[in-house]
Symmetry: C2
Subunit: 111 residues, 2 copies
Amino acid sequence: MARERLPSAEEGDRLTSVLSLMADPTRARLLYALDVVEELCVGDLAIALSVSEDAVSYGLRVLRTAGLVRRRKEGRIVYYRLAEGFPEPLRQHCLRQLIEMSRAPIEDDDV
Amino acid sequence: MARERLPSAEEGDRLTSVLSLMADPTRARLLYALDVVEELCVGDLAIALSVSEDAVSYGLRVLRTAGLVRRRKEGRIVYYRLAEGFPEPLRQHCLRQLIEMSRAPIEDDDV
DNA sequence: GCATCATCCGCATAGCCGCACGGATATCGG
DNA sequence: CCGATATCCGTGCGGCTATGCGGATGATGC
């Protein structure tokens, strides 16, 4: 049955390409922030995440190239938000579930 | 409210560390195979995924170090399976949902 | 005991990636 | 028109990592 078919190398790459976008602290936090607040500009994101504006800009550039975020210019300020086509599974299951998980980690992982 | 709190850098790292384990084609396919078949040895995994045994061995070593898979020796053959403490969200939401997603990608992603 | 096999390990290498830096562009206030 | 501001872009570098290779280890069959 198809449900037991193993993913091909190509499917593995496709999965990986989207997951590796979240497998970076800056990008993951950027996406989560945009999931929560809906629309934010670069400067505010930099302050909110305590990251340099360059790092934020670079992270957003990568996400934009991948089509995961959209930008809207208003004067000299650029507002970012999640793209309309942002994959729902990624949003619900990775952004929210996994962020939740990373807050209550395995117990013997304490300080 | 806590639900709107943005993840700290540390939480971002924790999330990233587990996600980056899946953000590699070999490891993702290894995990999915073990999710489906339950227990497999290195050689069979190499054949099933069309990867060198060394690559499989390395991938499993990384996953084992992270505590995501367990091994059981029987003679000279080593069988691997997902660890008991394998995070359920990761299993359900990433392994299955995302593999499913990578099979039916966004339609304008043609050719 | 010896040849064989499955697997692991250490090491070296090559490729990728996130980020800082310097400069460019566009917009705003006056 | 001018300086300040917000952001983008190209480039370069340091660090990480997946992988291949040679050798070691332990089990098996005879």
